[in-house]
Structure formats: C-alpha cells, structure tokens
Symmetry: C2
C-alpha cells in the first residue's frame, strides 16, 4: 500500500504479522514491558523508516523503533484520520501578494494523513489550512524550491535560491518573499541572500519551526503569521530571520540575516542577534514595531542579482594544540580562502602564524574572526595579533564567523586579488559590520 | 641600554635620532599631523617591538608604530618613573595559604617601570603591591609556571599544570590554588584541570584580566580579590573561572570550568556559564554567596592525578558545503578522535556521513556537539541524526564543544577501544553534563 511505503520492510512485516494498518487504533506492547495506545500514522517525510509513528491520545506523536515492539493488538479495525479537511473559501487576490518559497526543514515536515507519508509539497492551500488567519491577511503563492534538510544546503543552492528570489521580485513584484527553511543553517543562508540579492523592493524573510506543526507545542503558526506580517508591513528590504522572540506564543523578532545565529538546539527563541539588535518586533494583532532606524529601506530601484559563491572556502575553528598540518592541507588542496575562528581578540597559536604567512603569500585571504562571537576582533592589542597582521591576515571586525565565511565565499567570486578581496571584506555592504559596539548588543547579565 | 632592549632597532634608532630616552616626557608629532604628549615607557612584555609606548597624562598607555612618528621633542630631560614603590609590611603567615600559579596572559602583562621592559615574573610581592587588600586576607605564595599567551597552551601544558596543582595540594595543603591565565583559552584549560586533578581538598581558580593592570580601567584587582576569597571561603573543590560578573567593579562570578566560555572579545564580563548557572557570586566585602547546591565538595580524601591528554584530537566546526576531504585527511593523518561542532540538534550534511562511518569502523570516536552551544544534542529527532547514530557517532549531550574536545583528549589516554571511550564520554565525571536543562541556563530574552 502506497501510504505505508515510507516504512522499512521490517516495519511493514511487523504490521502484516499483527494485521495492523494505518490509522487504526492499536495497543503496542514493548520489549521493556511498557504498553502504548495510539493511532498508527504514516511515516513522516523526515522520519526514520525503521520507526513506527503513533498519535497518542494527548495529541502528541511518538516514534517506536520496530525492534522494541513485542506485540501489536488492534483495538479497533476502523480507520480514524485525525485531521479534519478544511474547505478553502475563495482566495482574495485583492490582498497583498506574498511569495512563500520552501527549501525544506521542520516547517515543511508534516504528515499528510489523507494521502500517505511522503510530503515534499508546500502549497498555498496547506499553508492556509495550517494558519487560517492568513486568509484575511495575504494572497499567498507558494513554491517548493528544495525539500532538503538545511544541513544539506550548499553555496551552489544559495546561488540558485538567490536567482529565484531575484526573478520573483522582478516579475511578480510581491510585497515580500518568505523562505521556509530548516533552522540549522538558516543563519548562513540568510547571510548569503543578503549579499547576493540587493536593492530589494521588499524583505526576504526566513522562517522555520523548532517543533513540527503536527505537535501541539508547534511554533509554526506564530512564526508564519509574523513572517507574513513582516512581508507586508516592514519598511525594510533586507534578508531577515523571523522566529519566536520568547518561549510563549507572544511575539516574534526579525533579526538581520548577517547578524543572527541559532543559539539553542531546541528552544523556540533559539535565534538571537549578535553584535546588533533585532530590526523589529512582531505581534499577530498589532502593527510591526521597528526597533531601530538603521536598516536598508525597500528600494525603488531595480533589484540587483550578485550571485556566485566560491565553494573552496573553509571555516576553521582554532583550538589549543591545533596542528598546522590542517592549514597546510587546505593550502595544498587549493582552497581559495579561509576564515579562522580565533580566540579572544583574534589570536591563534604561534605554530599557525607561518602557514598563514605562506597562504597569504600565495594570494589566499585569511580572515580572522572570534569564537567569542560577541565583540570585535582587534589585532593591535597583543603581540600575537600584530604578528598575524604582519603575516597578512585580515581582522574581520565584529562579523560573525559564519557571516565572514559566507561573505568570503561571495567575495572570492568577484575580487581579482587578495588586496581587493580584503577591501571587499571590510566594505560594509548590508550592515554586516557594526562600526560601533553598543552595550545592548550583549545579552543581559545573569543574576 | 638594557631597559630599552625590548624595542626593535628601528625604534631605538628613532629614539637616538631625537636624543629621547625612557621615562622622559616628550611631545610626539605624527605623520597624520596629530600630536601626543606623554612619558616614554619600556616595551611591555607582550608588546610589539615596533611600537613605542607612551604613558598619557590621563594615566592610559598608548602604543605608536614607529613608522607613524614624524618628530620627537623632549619636553623635560628628567626621568619620571610613574610607579611609586610600596614597601611591604611583614607578611602574616598565620593567614590562610593561597597558592598563585602564573601561566602568562594579560594579568601577568605589566611594565616594570624600574627595571625595564620584559616582565616574566609574577611574585607574591608584586601581587600584594597590585592589590594591597590581600595583605589582611591571605598568605600568598606565587610561582611562574609559564609566561606565554594562552593561545599557546597545549594538551602537554595542561598535563604539566595538572601535575603541579596536584603536587602543591599534596605537599603544601593550601586553602586554594589560583591560576593566573590568559583569558583566550582559559575555558579549555579550566576544563582540562577539572578532568585531570580530582578529589581536590580545595578549588582551582582560574583568573585573568581583560584590561592590563597598568590601565585605570583594569579588572585585575577585583578579579584577584574575588579569586583569593573563593580560594579561602568556597565549599567546593572544583576547577572554576572567577571573573567579573558585570561591567562595573561590583562582583565576580565563579563559573564551573567545564561549563564556561569566553563570550565577548573585550568586555570585563566576557565569561558566561553555558547550560548551567554559576557556582557562586563573590563581592569583595561580603562572604562568598553560593548559587547552587550542585557542586563537588572539598574532598577529605587524597587528591588524585589523572594526567595525560591525547594530542591527535581535532575539533571541527561543520559549515554548509563542507567537503568530506577534511575528515578524510584527519583519518589518513592518524587522528585518534574528532569532536564535530554540528548544527542544531547535531546534524551534518549527507556527504559527511560516509567518512564518519569509515572512521568509526577504524575505531576512531566521533563525538557530535552543537554550534548552537546552548541546549542538548539529540540524534533521535530527525533522519540525519538517526543516520549519524547508525554510522556510529556519539551524541555529546549538552557538553560544550570545547569541553567535549578536552574530555575526548583526556579519555583517549585511558580508554582501550571506541566502546569504552564512548562510555567514558557519557560518564558525568565533574558535572560536565547536565542531565536536565533548566530555563535559567539560557540568557534572558532580549527586549
């Protein structure tokens, strides 16, 4: 049966053995003697094929590895599809047009209870079903660009996505473009789009979920509503990340794409601005509230596509005792640029100074950032910093290591030599550098 | 002249040309037409030999690269040594004994105005001169272990330091041992000592400076006073970092060595606990205030030395588009273990799964941590995580990537095979793992 095909042969064999089927209520006995009641669901798109998924009476889903299942008893052979279909009313094309591109991730990871497991689509209908409030807010067009985990994004895909965003803004003139994206590398992609598509007539809003939308605790609805509101109301034409600002379903924050980082593995408010404040605070029932006057306005000129990202760029974190051979290897392998996450103000061990000097001599830019993340690199304070400057390394100001990595990848496709690459690295294109550090850029003191 | 010998020939030539000497008040004209008045100082130990150092009338020091100097006019040929010598009273050996080991760093980086530039010593006299309050607090013995930048610390030096700490606790039974250390890699060394010296009768307190002690804004005095108070009063026998808790000279926090990170390049309150709360709050005029009951008590048993750190361990940060060749290179080079700073809950791109499988098959532990830093790795939520588990990688719970790196280096000197290495990695030796995540472990919401 097609809707069961997402599961592995081992799981299918188990279901056949106990004559159990999708959407039936069952009682499962585990090898550890626990018992679980629930409704068998199709395998979620992102799920492990060896794990059977049940919907529990409390609404949560649970996955059980087939090896842990001792016995399945069908409680009721009737099939109960837990989701009620919503008939969509006529869509209002008079509302502002908002484009929604999907690249995959948790936000696009849902079980389609009516048709089966695999769910690579992200249609406007579905978005309206998930968040009916949007029916009165925007006319949404949706398009699936990728259906991948965000950790599988690459510089090549940043480039393709940039091209599609550019085309849509030129041809369809939407109020804003939303990119549904896995949260893991969302910051990297948001930075890449910031450099590659410019003079934007509206924002590019990256949005994701920390909990999938078939869980009662999902953050999807609020994030999507706030993203749509930002698309329509924001005065800025920047690449931003819109996600929960706190753990409750209270408000979202719009963080500048080149200054944001996922700082927690699982919390809804995982995204934080680093060396900057968020651009705006968004509540579902209120107008978007700007938090700064320092932003790129919606442009009235033609949007610009500045695509192309060099793939032979590495982001290397320094650690005590690091062997110079890692840098030497990258040199031999023909890497075209390196961003180093150095310590403190921008230091590495003495042993690494010579390999850095050699790479720079061969025209390979070496950009120094800090693993502290907050604050600014300064190579003029200590002797090691001065040695790095003399070896030809470039201090990367207050740029995030991740942003410096994305930027160097972008710069290397348009600089002719190391001097022009360094000049571009220090040019503040989209507020990726904050010339002045402010007290409020750093998280409040713990008490 | 010996006290000038720290400067480069270019600076010395310049001084001779204008007949200027150390400790003379001068007026310097720069090539950019600015003028600066000040007293010429000897080169600081950590200073660039090409940079002439002046003490300004406001008490700050400033460095000027010799190339930027156009002209030097001697205002007064008299020599003015800016520091008044303090005659030490008789030291009170009846006070608690506190050992102070110096490894270098800003805290040990001072100009000795009486003898010249190079300053590799860290004597008890000097510490009392710097912080006279200590005369009534503790009987301090000081010892210089290294005079290095902390970015030049290595696993071998962690080991030597551990041995010295163990010896002092066994032979001299001090109330506590303070380690003056550069802040850049202080977190790594504090973690290493936590694993390598155990059953401690008192704490090991890492202390440093973000501003050197010859600057009016120095944080040295408060940090040293709080470190000494912690050495004497703390009920715990753990490796901790004691540094400013806020930007004013108000209080310090004692952070657990395996749960602390330098989070800002320059602020005094750069150190923050991650996935934990600090152990204690220390004010100079009050008794130390414990913030948790979860700590290792001062042990009444014999201290234990568990030294040895494997040097062939790498800490690799994943980034989008990362080529598998970097992992393959480490495999070929005979690395014995890798800690990966993965994204989100612990993911890497599809391309890296196979090299990881191959390394594990050859008995090389691969430990997955998160570049989010806050939160816990969980490889059971998404398919990629399950693939990593199946490839044999180990999820590193809520351990900091840096702590997991130090721990793996330590584990590899005592585990026979990958299974026992993994078992040790998940054993909670010194509270490096928090089984439960708490709301207060994450920095407060930005508003």
């Amino acid at each position: 049966m097609s809707e069961r095909s997402g599961y592995s042969p081992a799981v299918l064999k188990l279901l056949e053995k106990y004559k159990a089927d999708l959407f039936q209520e069952v009682n499962i006995k585990l090898v550890d003697h626990r018992e679980i009641n629930g409704i068998i669901l199709p395998r979620p798109f992102y799920g492990d094929p060896d794990v059977l998924v049940l919907k529990l009476p409390n609404g949560y889903n649970i996955g059980i590895e087939y090896k842990k299942i001792k016995y399945i008893a069908v409680i009721s052979p009737a099939k109960r599809k837990p989701l009620v279909e919503l008939a969509l009313p006529h869509l209002r094309e008079d509302l502002p047009l908002v484009y929604m591109l999907s690249t995959g991730g948790t936000i696009a990871s849902r079980i389609d209870y009516s048709t089966g497991a695999v769910y690579p689509f992200f249609t406007a209908e579905e978005i309206y079903r998930m968040v009916p409030e949007l029916l009165d807010l925007a006319y949404i067009k949706a398009e699936t660009v990728y259906s991948i985990f965000s950790e599988d994004m690459t510089p090549k895909r940043w480039d393709e996505l940039a091209k599609r965003i550019y085309e849509i803004y030129r041809k369809e003139a939407p109020a804003g473009i939303i990119v549904a994206h896995g949260t893991d590398t969302m910051g990297y992609t948001a930075a890449a789009i910031a450099f590659a598509v410019r003079n934007l007539p509206g924002p590019v809003i990256f949005v994701g979920s920390q909990r999938s939308s078939d869980r009662p605790s999902s953050d999807t609805a609020l994030n999507v509503i706030c993203a749509v509101k930002t698309a329509i109301e924001a005065p800025f034409g920047e690449s931003v990340v819109v996600m929960h600002g706190c753990t409750s379903d209270d408000y979202c924050l719009a963080h500048r794409g080149v200054k944001v980082r996922k700082m927690h593995t699982s919390r809804r408010d995982a995204f934080r601005s680093v060396n900057d404040i968020p651009l705006a605070l968004i509540r579902p029932q209120q107008r978007i509230k700007l938090l700064t006057s320092r932003y790129l306005k919606r442009s009235e000129e033609e949007p610009q596509l500045l695509g192309g990202f060099e793939e032979k760029v590495a982001l290397i974190k320094f650690y005590p005792g690091m062997h110079p051979e890692i840098l030497e290897f990258l040199h031999e392998e023909g890497y075209k640029g390196i961003v180093i996450e150095a310590t403190g103000l921008g230091h590495v061990s003495e042993k690494l100074v010579e390999p850095i000097r050699k790479m720079v001599k061969d025209g390979i830019p070496i950009v120094i950032t800090s693993q502290c993340m907050w604050g600014r690199v300064n190579l003029n304070v200590y002797r090691r910093g001065v040695e790095l400057i003399k070896a030809g390394a470039l201090p990367g100001e207050d740029m995030l290591p991740e942003t410096a990595f994305v930027k160097l990848s972008w710069v290397l496709k348009r600089a002719d030599d190391i001097e022009s690459a360094y000049k571009m690295m220090l040019t503040n294109y989209v507020y990726e550098i904050n010339p002045r550090s402010e007290e409020r850029f750093y998280p409040p003191v713990w008490r």
